[in-house]
Every structure is written in C-alpha cells, then in structure tokens.
Amino acid sequence: MNHIAPGARAGIYHYDEIDRRFVGERVEQFRKQVERRLAGELTEEEFKPIRLMNGLYLQLHAYMLRIAVPYGVMTSVQLRKLASIGRRYDRGYGHFTTRQNLQYNWIKLEDTPAILHELAEVDMHALQTSGNCVRNVTTDQFVGAAADEVVDGRVYAEILRQWTTLHPEFTYLPRKFKIAISGASSDRAAVRVHDVGLLAKRNAAGEAGFTFYVGGGLGRSPFIGKLVREWVAEEDFVAYLEAILRVYNQYGRRDNIYKARIKILVHELGLEKFKAEVEEEFARLRGPKYRLDPEIVAGIRAHFAPPPFEDLPTRSDALERAKAENPAFANWVAVNVAEHRQPGYAIATISLKPAGGIPGDATCDQMDLIADLAERHSFGELRVSHVQNIVLAHVKQDELFALWTELDAAGLGTANAGLIGDIIACPGLDYCALANARSIPLAQALSARFADPIRQRAIGELGIKISGCINACGHHHIAAIGILGVDKKGTEFYQITVGGDPTLTAAIGDILGPAVTETEAVDAVEAIVEVYLANRTDQDERFIDTLKRVGHAPFKERIYAAD
C-alpha cells in the first residue's frame, strides 16, 4: 500500500508553492513590522490595525493570538502543530471560538513572528482573523458530509478566502466584515446574523447560485439580515460581493464605531436605496475581469473531493450491539452523532463542554488525542463548529464505539451536542479587554446544574448562549435562552433574553425582565426550563415553540413574582 501523508485526504484547500510563498512573505512582513514597532518607527495607533490583521489582540493579561481555521476545517497535522505551539508559547491549552477559529491567551508580541513561522510550516496563518477587513468566512460544520447538503459551501468559502486575502481596496473598511455560507436545507451557519449571509442553492438546471442576505449582525444593535437578491449566478458571485463591499467602503459610517457596520448603513440608507447602489456597481463590474470562471470553481472543488469511502451497509450491526450493551454510549450516539450521506458512515461531534468546564477550551494533550483519533477514524480531518465543539465528519459507524471509548477516557465524551449543556460562552471578563462581566463562571455553573444526561435529553433541544458584553461574541441575542453580562456600579449582573433563533427563521430574543445576579441567573434558567416542561404539549414541542404559544407571561411570573 502506498504511503499517504496524514491529512492528504482531508477536505481542506491544499496549498501549492504560490500559497506557501505568500504566507511566508506575510510572516516576514509582520516580523519587520514588529521590529519597526519595537524601534518606535510605527506608533501604537499605526501598529494596532496591522497586528489585528495578523490576529493579534492585546487582552487583559497578555496578547491573544487568533489562528485562522478556514471555514473551520483542518488536518490532524495542523491540530498537532496547534498543540505544540500551545505548549511552547502559551500555557498548554487553546480556546475554540464561535468563528470556528482557535485562540491562544498568553502570547508575547516578541514571540509572534516565530509562532506565525511555525504555523506557516503547516500551511496555517492568523491573517484577517481581526481588523476592519473581511474576516474568516464561516460555513456549516457538517459541510461535505451532511445528508441535506445541496451545495458544498467550502468551495465558495475558499474562493472568498482567496479573493479577500490582502484585498487592496477592502482592507481598511469602516468596520469588520463577516460572511457565512450555508449550502444545506438546514442553516447551521447562522447566515442571517452576518454582514453578508449566503444561501448556496441550485436552480432547475442544477446550476449553483446564491441568495444574498445583507446587514445581519448582533452587538449593540442586533439586526436580522435582509434579503438583497434572491439569485446571484455562480459566475457573478465575486462581482456581486465586490459591489456590496465597494458601496459599504464608500458610504459606511466612519464617525462612530458603533454605527460603522454594514447593518447600520442598510438601515439608515433604506433597503431599496442600498440595493439600487449595489445594483449600479454590479452592472458595471459584471464582465470578464470579475467573472468567476467555471474552470476556477472546478479547480477549487477538486480540493474538496470526497475521501475514499468504503462501500458499507447502511446499518452497522457492530454499532447496534455496542449501543445495546452500553447505555452511556447509546446516549452519546443519540445526542452527538448525526446522519452522514454516505451509507455506513456518521458525523460525530466531540463536545468541548464538559459539565462545569470552560466552553471551547481544549488542552494541548486533548488536541493531540483528537488529532490521533481524526487520523484513525476520519481521514485525518476535523472541523471546529461555531458552537465551539469539534466534529469528526466521516466516521465509520462500526468504529463509533472505539472512538467514544477513547474520547470518554480523556474527558471528551460528554453527550450534550445541541442540548442545554452545550453552552456557548465568550471569554468574558476573565480574559477579554472589552468585557463588562464574566461569562465563563456562569456557563460552568449552568452546565454543572444541568449535568445529568437523562435530564438534558428530557429537556431536549435548547441552546444557552452567554456574552460578557454588548458586542455579543457569545451570540446571546439568537439563543433560546440568552444571557448578557452587564456591569452595574462594579457588580456583575446578567440580563436574560428568550426566544432567539439562529436559523433561517432567525429571531432576536426578547429581554425577559430586570438583570439578576449570577446565582439568581442559574436559578432563573432552571425556572424557565421548569415552566417550559410544565407547559409543553409533548416531548416534541421545542422550547421556542412553547414560548411562542404561551408567551412570556408564565416565565416572567415564575422568575420575578417573588420580588
């Protein structure tokens, strides 16, 4: 048998010489920029956007470096490198983010060029993970595996990654710019809360095209993205985005950082006027220079060819036997394993949300283990999901039990994907310079309160998302139960919202009542859950559906009646 390098079958864009040369040049460029900063040739004001565009923030305790994981997909080799960097330059762990990236929290500025150099060795970088540029394009964590997929979002996310890399016109935008793509019938990428949300679909002729939503976003002024064009043909994909970005770059507000996102431009200009401006640019840009040639798309698509699946029966007897013998495993399969389009395979979610743990954190030892498991069970590939978990997308059903056994032994076998324990939390005031309150301790208290797997399954699909400030990195606005940390005269308080929805039926949650203390917040969430359980028609009525039916009153009454 020929030797195949680990990761060679992974569904990522595989670098060639030109890509490597580019990333290498960027590392050297940043090395010189750091030297110029330390020598005083660049002021902090001038250096800040430059370091941000290389993923480097200054946080409470040190610099934070955010590594790009394009559309959340990486190889086992890359993950091992991340583990090794975490040991050598950080404190032995990393934090997976809601933008499908990885962050280190204890980085030194003077080490950064060396870290970026090490990343370049495995075709990784930290480019455009921050700054007022087009950020890492995100997509469905089940891309290329989901049974309900229509178009492979990675292909277009990669085209955008390349097209937006050091874009000469759009690197100093009014504010950051986030794009998400979903190519499946269920939206797992929260496209309607992004600056640009793309729904990739096919027309009657089978050709790929895109529905464009613009102006979604969370933060201080949450907006659901508005439909700007129902159908943009594949060949116009780049031209249409270029038109949107040019309108935004020229007309987006620069006088007030809180009003600088494209959502405010769309809101203030009005949807019709915004559309007209974009269409005018688009009509002019459309042409050979910006046309996305089918050959280019085919060339990119070749990188994402399916791995060499074996022909397997749909039903795995080994899996059924293991489930029957081991209830904890059966529970994990029921909760963390999703249907694969290839018979005999499954998609496994590795929860980074152990009860009482820090959401999204993984130790370097855990990263190494996951890399090993990805090689043995998923063609050397893994994904980071926007809910801060890891996904092995192509696992043989026959091997699920072996996989779970090793995960469980390493504290990675928590069965809570999509359940109440699968909490999203931003780093909050424990790390973040922008935060007003801590997020992690509340997430820990809540996941410990609802640790019982049987109770979690009885409650069913119910997401809790926590942000430590109004910038909403924890996506609290779109959670079934959202929690926002606020500072009231030096004390941390938490404001609870209910009824948010990240999917295509996107909705911003409503504030339930006055903010409460951390301890009260845990009790309040439990009270909300109890009211839901008492009111739901049956097991199949989800929390948000019960909420829609019975309204806020019973929930408010229960939480605030005692006051």
Partner: protein, 111 residues
C-alpha cells in the same frame, strides 16, 4: 501610606513586548531607566491620592510610550479592605491576579 478614604489610585499598563500587566512602582520618578519605574505585582504598585495620580500619569505615560515600553496606560481606583489595597473594579482585580476560572494561571499562580 495609603489613606483610608478609598480615593486611591494605581497606574497600570501592558508591557509592549510581551503584553504583561505592569504597575507604576514606588521608584517611578527616581530618574532611572523606564523599565525600573514599573513593577509586575500589584502588591508592589505605588498608590496615589486621586489628585496626585493625574500628575503621575501625565508624567509617566509619555515616558513609557516614548521608550516603547508600555501601552494602554491609565489609572484605576483602589480601595483598602482590612488594610490591604484592592482594585475596586472586577476588571482590575482580574488583571492583577489572573483569570478567576483558572487559578493556576496568571499572577495569582506565581503568588
């Protein structure tokens, strides 16, 4: 000596080359090298009555910036609890100690 009325301030920065939290120390105006003006532990930080903190900040900040030593330089409120100076805001407590969810990390771990 710190007064007991709670209106004290300390001055802090992040060190440019590694981002580490530093505080203006007692020798800040002794005329030595910029680096010797700053200390890593809050326990060693100089405490200023509010009026003096402004003057000290106005003097120390440009020095630290010119020497490419520190960034994000500002003063914050300190109160004394049982005679021990403590930052008033949670944010500054966490900067002085480390993450409250990882007691094995940050300045608190070394203590």
């Amino acid at each position: 000596m710190p007064s007991q009325d709670g209106s004290l301030k300390a001055i802090t920065a992040n060190r440019l080359r590694d981002g580490v939290v530093v505080f203006l120390g007692p020798d800040w105006n002794a005329g030595g090298e910029v680096a010797t003006a700053w200390v890593e532990s809050f326990a060693d930080a100089a405490l200023f009555p509010a009026a003096e903190a402004e003057t000290a900040l106005a003097a120390a900040k440009p020095r630290a910036e010119r020497a490419q030593f520190g960034v994000d330089i500002y003063a914050f409120d300190v109160e004394t609890e049982n005679g021990v100076p403590t930052p008033v805001k949670m944010r500054e407590r966490i900067r002085a100690l480390g993450p409250s969810v990882r007691l094995d990390l940050g300045k608190q771990a070394a203590a």
